[in-house]
Protein backbone atom coordinates (compact mmCIF):
# COMPACT_ATOMS: atom_id res chain seq x y z
CA UNK A 1 0.00 0.00 0.00
CA UNK A 2 1.49 3.28 -1.11
CA UNK A 3 -0.73 5.94 0.33
CA UNK A 4 0.55 9.31 1.45
CA UNK A 5 -1.66 10.92 4.00
CA UNK A 6 -2.38 14.56 3.41
CA UNK A 7 -4.93 16.19 5.66
CA UNK A 8 -4.31 19.75 4.42
CA UNK A 9 -7.07 19.85 1.77
CA UNK A 10 -9.59 18.67 4.35
CA UNK A 11 -8.49 20.98 7.12
CA UNK A 12 -8.80 23.88 4.68
CA UNK A 13 -12.52 23.12 4.60
CA UNK A 14 -12.77 22.97 8.40
CA UNK A 15 -15.38 25.77 8.68
CA UNK A 16 -17.63 23.91 6.24
CA UNK A 17 -17.33 20.68 8.21
CA UNK A 18 -18.13 22.49 11.43
CA UNK A 19 -21.14 24.23 9.92
CA UNK A 20 -22.24 20.81 8.65
CA UNK A 21 -22.09 19.24 12.07
CA UNK A 22 -23.85 22.29 13.54
CA UNK A 23 -26.70 21.89 11.07
CA UNK A 24 -26.88 18.16 11.88
CA UNK A 25 -27.19 18.89 15.59
CA UNK A 26 -29.82 21.54 14.92
CA UNK A 27 -31.87 19.17 12.71
CA UNK A 28 -31.68 16.48 15.39
CA UNK A 29 -32.70 18.92 18.15
CA UNK A 30 -35.70 20.31 16.26
CA UNK A 31 -36.80 16.82 15.20
CA UNK A 32 -36.58 15.34 18.67
CA UNK A 33 -38.50 18.30 20.10
CA UNK A 34 -41.37 17.89 17.62
CA UNK A 35 -41.08 14.09 17.79
CA UNK A 36 -41.33 14.13 21.58
CA UNK A 37 -44.50 16.24 21.58
CA UNK A 38 -46.08 13.97 18.95
CA UNK A 39 -44.75 10.89 20.71
CA UNK A 40 -46.25 11.99 24.01
CA UNK A 41 -49.67 12.35 22.38
CA UNK A 42 -49.31 8.90 20.75
CA UNK A 43 -48.15 7.37 24.06
CA UNK A 44 -51.23 8.68 25.89
CA UNK A 45 -53.43 7.57 23.00
CA UNK A 46 -51.94 4.06 23.28
CA UNK A 47 -53.32 3.89 26.81
CA UNK A 48 -56.61 5.66 26.12
CA UNK A 49 -59.93 4.06 27.09
CA UNK A 50 -61.15 4.12 23.48
CA UNK A 51 -60.08 0.99 21.53
CA UNK A 52 -60.08 3.01 18.29
CA UNK A 53 -57.61 5.49 19.66
CA UNK A 54 -55.46 2.69 21.03
CA UNK A 55 -55.23 0.80 17.75
CA UNK A 56 -54.60 4.07 15.90
CA UNK A 57 -51.65 4.73 18.21
CA UNK A 58 -50.23 1.22 17.77
CA UNK A 59 -50.64 1.40 13.99
CA UNK A 60 -48.78 4.73 13.96
CA UNK A 61 -45.90 3.27 15.97
CA UNK A 62 -45.76 0.04 13.98
CA UNK A 63 -45.78 1.70 10.55
CA UNK A 64 -43.18 4.34 11.29
CA UNK A 65 -40.86 1.97 13.14
CA UNK A 66 -40.86 -0.56 10.33
CA UNK A 67 -40.18 1.90 7.50
CA UNK A 68 -36.63 2.80 6.49
CA UNK A 69 -36.06 6.47 7.31
CA UNK A 70 -34.55 7.02 3.85
CA UNK A 71 -37.83 5.96 2.23
CA UNK A 72 -39.77 8.40 4.44
CA UNK A 73 -37.33 11.21 3.57
CA UNK A 74 -37.54 10.56 -0.18
CA UNK A 75 -41.31 10.07 -0.11
CA UNK A 76 -41.86 13.41 1.61
CA UNK A 77 -39.37 15.32 -0.53
CA UNK A 78 -40.10 13.85 -3.97
CA UNK A 79 -43.56 12.33 -3.53
CA UNK A 80 -45.54 14.96 -1.66
CA UNK A 81 -45.20 17.71 -4.31
CA UNK A 82 -47.42 15.45 -6.45
CA UNK A 83 -50.17 16.02 -3.89
CA UNK A 84 -49.50 19.74 -4.05
CA UNK A 85 -47.41 19.89 -0.88
CA UNK A 86 -43.99 21.20 -1.81
CA UNK A 87 -41.65 21.71 1.10
CA UNK A 88 -38.08 22.92 0.86
CA UNK A 89 -35.47 20.26 1.56
CA UNK A 90 -34.68 21.24 5.15
CA UNK A 91 -38.34 21.48 6.19
CA UNK A 92 -39.25 18.22 4.51
CA UNK A 93 -36.28 16.48 6.16
CA UNK A 94 -37.28 17.82 9.57
CA UNK A 95 -40.85 16.61 9.02
CA UNK A 96 -39.57 13.14 8.03
CA UNK A 97 -37.21 12.88 10.99
CA UNK A 98 -39.85 14.19 13.41
CA UNK A 99 -42.41 11.61 12.26
CA UNK A 100 -39.79 8.89 12.57
CA UNK A 101 -38.77 10.16 16.01
CA UNK A 102 -42.40 10.32 17.15
CA UNK A 103 -42.79 6.54 16.84
CA UNK A 104 -39.62 5.86 18.83
CA UNK A 105 -40.43 8.50 21.44
CA UNK A 106 -43.96 7.11 21.77
CA UNK A 107 -42.44 3.75 22.67
CA UNK A 108 -40.10 5.43 25.16
CA UNK A 109 -42.92 7.36 26.81
CA UNK A 110 -45.21 4.33 26.80
CA UNK A 111 -42.56 2.44 28.73
CA UNK A 112 -42.23 5.44 31.03
CA UNK A 113 -45.98 5.53 31.62
CA UNK A 114 -46.06 1.82 32.44
CA UNK A 115 -43.35 2.39 35.04
CA UNK A 116 -45.45 4.89 37.02
CA UNK A 117 -46.73 2.99 40.08
CA UNK A 118 -50.52 2.71 40.05
CA UNK A 119 -50.56 3.45 43.78
CA UNK A 120 -49.29 6.98 43.18
CA UNK A 121 -52.13 7.67 40.75
CA UNK A 122 -54.60 6.32 43.31
CA UNK A 123 -52.99 8.47 46.00
CA UNK A 124 -53.59 11.47 43.76
CA UNK A 125 -57.23 10.50 43.35
CA UNK A 126 -57.54 10.02 47.09
CA UNK A 127 -56.50 13.59 47.82
CA UNK A 128 -59.01 14.79 45.23
CA UNK A 129 -56.79 15.83 42.30
CA UNK A 130 -58.47 16.05 38.92
CA UNK A 131 -57.21 13.63 36.29
CA UNK A 132 -55.42 16.48 34.50
CA UNK A 133 -53.59 17.43 37.69
CA UNK A 134 -52.68 13.82 38.39
CA UNK A 135 -51.04 13.75 34.97
CA UNK A 136 -49.35 17.12 35.44
CA UNK A 137 -47.99 16.63 38.96
CA UNK A 138 -47.59 12.86 39.32
CA UNK A 139 -47.50 10.89 36.07
CA UNK A 140 -45.50 13.19 33.80
CA UNK A 141 -42.59 13.99 36.16
CA UNK A 142 -42.05 10.31 37.01
CA UNK A 143 -42.44 9.31 33.39
CA UNK A 144 -39.88 11.85 32.15
CA UNK A 145 -37.34 10.79 34.73
CA UNK A 146 -37.71 7.11 33.81
CA UNK A 147 -37.63 7.89 30.12
CA UNK A 148 -34.46 9.99 30.16
CA UNK A 149 -31.86 7.28 29.37
CA UNK A 150 -33.90 5.98 26.42
CA UNK A 151 -34.51 9.57 25.33
CA UNK A 152 -30.75 10.09 25.19
CA UNK A 153 -30.17 7.00 23.06
CA UNK A 154 -32.85 8.12 20.66
CA UNK A 155 -31.34 11.56 20.38
CA UNK A 156 -27.97 10.05 19.43
CA UNK A 157 -29.65 7.80 16.83
CA UNK A 158 -31.47 10.78 15.37
CA UNK A 159 -28.28 12.79 15.24
CA UNK A 160 -26.66 9.98 13.25
CA UNK A 161 -29.73 9.78 11.02
CA UNK A 162 -29.27 13.44 10.05
CA UNK A 163 -26.49 12.12 7.77
CA UNK A 164 -29.30 10.96 5.46
CA UNK A 165 -30.16 14.58 4.74
CA UNK A 166 -27.12 14.46 2.42
CA UNK A 167 -29.20 12.38 -0.01
CA UNK A 168 -31.50 15.35 -0.64
CA UNK A 169 -28.57 17.79 -0.69
CA UNK A 170 -29.05 19.34 2.75
CA UNK A 171 -25.57 20.70 3.50
CA UNK A 172 -24.71 18.79 6.64
CA UNK A 173 -21.48 16.93 7.49
CA UNK A 174 -21.93 13.88 5.25
CA UNK A 175 -22.88 16.14 2.35
CA UNK A 176 -19.64 18.13 2.72
CA UNK A 177 -17.62 14.95 3.24
CA UNK A 178 -18.90 13.57 -0.08
CA UNK A 179 -18.23 16.90 -1.75
CA UNK A 180 -14.65 17.10 -0.46
CA UNK A 181 -14.20 13.43 -1.34
CA UNK A 182 -15.03 14.00 -4.98
CA UNK A 183 -13.18 17.33 -5.22
CA UNK A 184 -9.88 16.38 -3.58
CA UNK A 185 -9.79 12.56 -3.78
CA UNK A 186 -8.27 12.53 -0.27
CA UNK A 187 -10.55 9.56 0.30
CA UNK A 188 -9.19 8.00 3.48
CA UNK A 189 -8.56 11.32 5.19
CA UNK A 190 -11.97 12.79 4.53
CA UNK A 191 -13.91 9.77 5.82
CA UNK A 192 -11.57 9.44 8.78
CA UNK A 193 -12.22 13.07 9.74
CA UNK A 194 -15.98 12.80 9.14
CA UNK A 195 -16.36 9.63 11.25
CA UNK A 196 -14.19 11.12 13.97
CA UNK A 197 -16.36 14.24 14.10
CA UNK A 198 -19.49 12.11 14.41
CA UNK A 199 -17.93 9.91 17.10
CA UNK A 200 -16.72 12.91 19.11
CA UNK A 201 -20.15 14.55 18.86
CA UNK A 202 -21.98 11.38 19.91
CA UNK A 203 -19.59 11.00 22.83
CA UNK A 204 -20.10 14.63 23.87
CA UNK A 205 -23.88 14.17 23.74
CA UNK A 206 -23.54 11.04 25.91
CA UNK A 207 -21.55 13.01 28.50
CA UNK A 208 -24.11 15.83 28.60
CA UNK A 209 -26.97 13.34 28.99
CA UNK A 210 -25.15 11.47 31.75
CA UNK A 211 -24.68 14.73 33.64
CA UNK A 212 -28.40 15.48 33.24
CA UNK A 213 -29.33 12.02 34.52
CA UNK A 214 -27.13 12.48 37.57
CA UNK A 215 -28.81 15.78 38.43
CA UNK A 216 -32.25 14.22 38.16
CA UNK A 217 -31.28 11.32 40.37
CA UNK A 218 -29.97 13.74 43.00
CA UNK A 219 -33.25 15.61 42.85
CA UNK A 220 -35.04 12.36 43.57
CA UNK A 221 -32.97 11.63 46.69
Amino acid sequence: MNYHFNFAPILEQWPLLLSGIGLGLLLALVSIAIGSVLGLVVAFASRAPSPWLRSLAFTWISILRNLPILVIVLFLFFGMPQLGLSLDKITSFVVALSLYASAYMAEVFRGGLLSVPQGLVEAGQAIGLTSLRIKRYIVLPIMFRNALPAFGNNFISLFKDTSLAATIAVPELTFYARKINSETFRVIEVWLVASLLYIVCCYAITLVLRAMEKRLVLEKA
Partner: protein, 224 residues
Protein backbone atom coordinates in the same frame (compact mmCIF):
# COMPACT_ATOMS: atom_id res chain seq x y z
CA UNK B 1 -54.16 10.79 -10.07
CA UNK B 2 -53.98 8.06 -12.66
CA UNK B 3 -53.98 4.77 -10.87
CA UNK B 4 -54.35 2.56 -13.95
CA UNK B 5 -51.13 4.01 -15.32
CA UNK B 6 -49.47 3.21 -11.98
CA UNK B 7 -50.72 -0.39 -11.98
CA UNK B 8 -49.55 -0.86 -15.56
CA UNK B 9 -46.15 0.47 -14.62
CA UNK B 10 -45.97 -1.92 -11.64
CA UNK B 11 -46.79 -4.85 -13.90
CA UNK B 12 -44.27 -3.70 -16.52
CA UNK B 13 -41.54 -3.34 -13.92
CA UNK B 14 -42.39 -6.39 -11.86
CA UNK B 15 -39.14 -8.21 -12.72
CA UNK B 16 -37.01 -5.24 -11.71
CA UNK B 17 -38.97 -4.84 -8.47
CA UNK B 18 -38.67 -8.52 -7.62
CA UNK B 19 -34.97 -8.46 -8.42
CA UNK B 20 -34.49 -5.38 -6.20
CA UNK B 21 -36.38 -7.06 -3.38
CA UNK B 22 -34.21 -10.15 -3.78
CA UNK B 23 -31.03 -8.03 -3.53
CA UNK B 24 -32.43 -6.36 -0.41
CA UNK B 25 -33.08 -9.80 1.07
CA UNK B 26 -29.65 -11.10 0.09
CA UNK B 27 -27.65 -8.19 1.45
CA UNK B 28 -29.68 -8.07 4.67
CA UNK B 29 -29.31 -11.80 5.19
CA UNK B 30 -25.53 -11.70 4.62
CA UNK B 31 -25.19 -8.76 7.00
CA UNK B 32 -27.35 -10.37 9.70
CA UNK B 33 -25.66 -13.79 9.52
CA UNK B 34 -22.04 -12.64 9.16
CA UNK B 35 -22.64 -9.76 11.57
CA UNK B 36 -24.11 -12.09 14.17
CA UNK B 37 -21.14 -14.49 14.00
CA UNK B 38 -18.63 -11.62 14.25
CA UNK B 39 -20.78 -9.94 16.90
CA UNK B 40 -20.81 -13.05 19.09
CA UNK B 41 -17.00 -13.14 19.02
CA UNK B 42 -16.85 -9.45 19.89
CA UNK B 43 -19.48 -9.80 22.59
CA UNK B 44 -17.54 -12.62 24.26
CA UNK B 45 -14.27 -10.68 23.96
CA UNK B 46 -15.76 -7.57 25.50
CA UNK B 47 -17.41 -9.44 28.38
CA UNK B 48 -14.94 -12.18 29.31
CA UNK B 49 -11.73 -11.26 27.45
CA UNK B 50 -8.51 -10.17 29.13
CA UNK B 51 -7.33 -6.60 28.55
CA UNK B 52 -5.65 -7.03 25.14
CA UNK B 53 -8.83 -8.68 23.89
CA UNK B 54 -11.37 -6.51 25.67
CA UNK B 55 -10.04 -3.10 24.67
CA UNK B 56 -9.97 -3.57 20.90
CA UNK B 57 -13.47 -5.09 21.07
CA UNK B 58 -14.75 -2.16 23.16
CA UNK B 59 -13.10 0.33 20.80
CA UNK B 60 -14.63 -1.44 17.80
CA UNK B 61 -18.13 -1.27 19.27
CA UNK B 62 -17.81 2.39 20.26
CA UNK B 63 -16.32 3.51 16.95
CA UNK B 64 -18.84 1.73 14.75
CA UNK B 65 -21.81 2.71 16.91
CA UNK B 66 -20.67 6.33 16.97
CA UNK B 67 -20.61 6.55 13.17
CA UNK B 68 -23.76 6.92 11.08
CA UNK B 69 -24.40 3.90 8.85
CA UNK B 70 -24.41 6.08 5.76
CA UNK B 71 -20.89 7.31 6.58
CA UNK B 72 -19.85 3.70 7.21
CA UNK B 73 -21.26 2.63 3.85
CA UNK B 74 -19.65 5.52 1.95
CA UNK B 75 -16.33 5.11 3.78
CA UNK B 76 -16.19 1.36 3.12
CA UNK B 77 -17.01 1.89 -0.54
CA UNK B 78 -14.50 4.67 -1.26
CA UNK B 79 -11.72 3.66 1.14
CA UNK B 80 -11.67 0.00 0.06
CA UNK B 81 -10.90 1.01 -3.51
CA UNK B 82 -8.39 3.65 -2.39
CA UNK B 83 -6.35 1.06 -0.48
CA UNK B 84 -6.44 -1.38 -3.37
CA UNK B 85 -9.24 -3.79 -2.44
CA UNK B 86 -11.42 -3.67 -5.49
CA UNK B 87 -14.77 -4.50 -3.96
CA UNK B 88 -17.95 -4.18 -5.97
CA UNK B 89 -20.61 -1.86 -4.60
CA UNK B 90 -22.54 -4.90 -3.39
CA UNK B 91 -19.52 -6.35 -1.58
CA UNK B 92 -18.59 -3.01 -0.01
CA UNK B 93 -22.17 -2.45 1.09
CA UNK B 94 -22.52 -5.94 2.53
CA UNK B 95 -19.21 -5.46 4.37
CA UNK B 96 -20.33 -2.12 5.83
CA UNK B 97 -23.65 -3.55 7.01
CA UNK B 98 -21.88 -6.60 8.47
CA UNK B 99 -19.50 -4.40 10.46
CA UNK B 100 -22.48 -2.35 11.65
CA UNK B 101 -24.50 -5.44 12.58
CA UNK B 102 -21.54 -6.97 14.44
CA UNK B 103 -21.17 -3.92 16.69
CA UNK B 104 -24.86 -4.09 17.59
CA UNK B 105 -24.87 -7.84 18.21
CA UNK B 106 -21.69 -7.48 20.30
CA UNK B 107 -23.32 -4.86 22.48
CA UNK B 108 -26.59 -6.83 22.75
CA UNK B 109 -24.72 -10.00 23.76
CA UNK B 110 -22.62 -8.09 26.30
CA UNK B 111 -25.77 -6.77 27.94
CA UNK B 112 -27.33 -10.25 28.02
CA UNK B 113 -24.21 -12.00 29.34
CA UNK B 114 -23.70 -9.42 32.06
CA UNK B 115 -27.23 -9.97 33.29
CA UNK B 116 -26.31 -13.60 34.14
CA UNK B 117 -24.96 -14.23 37.61
CA UNK B 118 -21.27 -15.09 38.09
CA UNK B 119 -22.32 -18.16 40.05
CA UNK B 120 -23.29 -19.80 36.78
CA UNK B 121 -19.69 -19.70 35.52
CA UNK B 122 -18.40 -20.93 38.87
CA UNK B 123 -20.88 -23.80 38.85
CA UNK B 124 -19.70 -24.73 35.36
CA UNK B 125 -16.07 -24.69 36.47
CA UNK B 126 -16.93 -26.77 39.51
CA UNK B 127 -18.27 -29.57 37.34
CA UNK B 128 -15.13 -29.36 35.20
CA UNK B 129 -16.37 -27.66 32.03
CA UNK B 130 -13.93 -25.68 29.89
CA UNK B 131 -14.83 -22.06 29.03
CA UNK B 132 -16.07 -23.27 25.66
CA UNK B 133 -18.35 -25.76 27.38
CA UNK B 134 -19.58 -23.22 29.91
CA UNK B 135 -20.42 -20.78 27.15
CA UNK B 136 -22.04 -23.35 24.93
CA UNK B 137 -24.16 -25.15 27.53
CA UNK B 138 -24.74 -22.60 30.29
CA UNK B 139 -24.27 -18.97 29.25
CA UNK B 140 -25.35 -18.89 25.62
CA UNK B 141 -28.76 -20.55 25.99
CA UNK B 142 -29.69 -18.18 28.78
CA UNK B 143 -28.24 -15.11 27.06
CA UNK B 144 -30.16 -16.02 23.93
CA UNK B 145 -33.44 -15.66 25.79
CA UNK B 146 -32.52 -12.17 26.98
CA UNK B 147 -30.97 -11.08 23.71
CA UNK B 148 -33.51 -12.39 21.22
CA UNK B 149 -36.01 -9.48 21.25
CA UNK B 150 -33.22 -6.91 20.76
CA UNK B 151 -31.57 -9.11 18.15
CA UNK B 152 -34.81 -9.14 16.16
CA UNK B 153 -34.92 -5.35 16.38
CA UNK B 154 -31.34 -5.32 15.06
CA UNK B 155 -32.38 -7.56 12.15
CA UNK B 156 -35.17 -5.10 11.28
CA UNK B 157 -32.61 -2.28 11.49
CA UNK B 158 -30.40 -4.14 8.99
CA UNK B 159 -33.20 -4.38 6.43
CA UNK B 160 -33.87 -0.68 6.94
CA UNK B 161 -30.17 0.17 6.70
CA UNK B 162 -29.86 -1.79 3.44
CA UNK B 163 -31.68 1.14 1.76
CA UNK B 164 -28.49 3.17 2.24
CA UNK B 165 -26.71 0.98 -0.29
CA UNK B 166 -28.76 2.75 -2.96
CA UNK B 167 -26.41 5.71 -2.42
CA UNK B 168 -23.36 3.74 -3.61
CA UNK B 169 -25.26 2.21 -6.53
CA UNK B 170 -26.34 -1.22 -5.31
CA UNK B 171 -29.55 -1.93 -7.21
CA UNK B 172 -31.56 -3.04 -4.19
CA UNK B 173 -35.24 -2.24 -3.80
CA UNK B 174 -34.86 1.50 -3.18
CA UNK B 175 -32.45 2.18 -6.06
CA UNK B 176 -34.63 0.04 -8.35
CA UNK B 177 -37.60 2.16 -7.27
CA UNK B 178 -35.66 5.34 -8.06
CA UNK B 179 -34.70 4.00 -11.48
CA UNK B 180 -38.34 3.19 -12.25
CA UNK B 181 -39.39 6.64 -11.07
CA UNK B 182 -36.84 8.30 -13.36
CA UNK B 183 -38.70 6.72 -16.28
CA UNK B 184 -42.32 7.37 -15.33
CA UNK B 185 -42.13 10.19 -12.75
CA UNK B 186 -44.64 8.46 -10.47
CA UNK B 187 -42.68 9.62 -7.40
CA UNK B 188 -45.35 9.32 -4.79
CA UNK B 189 -46.85 6.02 -5.94
CA UNK B 190 -43.58 4.15 -6.28
CA UNK B 191 -42.04 5.44 -3.05
CA UNK B 192 -45.28 4.40 -1.39
CA UNK B 193 -44.99 0.95 -2.96
CA UNK B 194 -41.39 0.62 -1.77
CA UNK B 195 -42.53 1.71 1.71
CA UNK B 196 -45.24 -0.97 1.72
CA UNK B 197 -42.77 -3.69 0.70
CA UNK B 198 -40.24 -2.64 3.34
CA UNK B 199 -42.99 -2.48 5.94
CA UNK B 200 -44.19 -5.99 5.09
CA UNK B 201 -40.66 -7.43 5.34
CA UNK B 202 -39.92 -5.70 8.65
CA UNK B 203 -43.35 -6.43 10.09
CA UNK B 204 -42.96 -10.12 9.20
CA UNK B 205 -39.56 -10.28 10.92
CA UNK B 206 -41.04 -8.57 13.97
CA UNK B 207 -43.94 -11.04 14.15
CA UNK B 208 -41.66 -14.07 13.75
CA UNK B 209 -39.50 -12.62 16.52
CA UNK B 210 -42.51 -12.24 18.78
CA UNK B 211 -43.57 -15.81 18.08
CA UNK B 212 -40.12 -17.22 18.87
CA UNK B 213 -39.89 -14.94 21.89
CA UNK B 214 -43.13 -16.34 23.28
CA UNK B 215 -41.91 -19.90 22.70
CA UNK B 216 -38.60 -19.20 24.43
CA UNK B 217 -40.37 -17.46 27.26
CA UNK B 218 -42.53 -20.39 28.26
CA UNK B 219 -40.16 -22.42 30.45
CA UNK B 220 -39.34 -19.36 32.55
CA UNK B 221 -42.97 -18.49 32.92
CA UNK B 222 -43.80 -22.00 34.08
CA UNK B 223 -40.97 -21.96 36.58
CA UNK B 224 -42.06 -18.68 38.18
Amino acid sequence: MDWTYFFNEVVNNRDALLHGTAITFAVSLIAILAGTVLGIVIGIAVTYGNKPLRWPARLYIDIIRGTPVLVLVLATFYVSSAVGFNLTAFQAGALALTLFCASHVGEILRGALQSLSRGQIEAGRAIGLTFGGIFRYILFPQALRYALPTWITAAVEMVKASTLLSVIGVAELLLTTQQIISNNFLNMQFYLLAGVIYFLIDFAIEQVGRFIGRRLDQPTRRAV
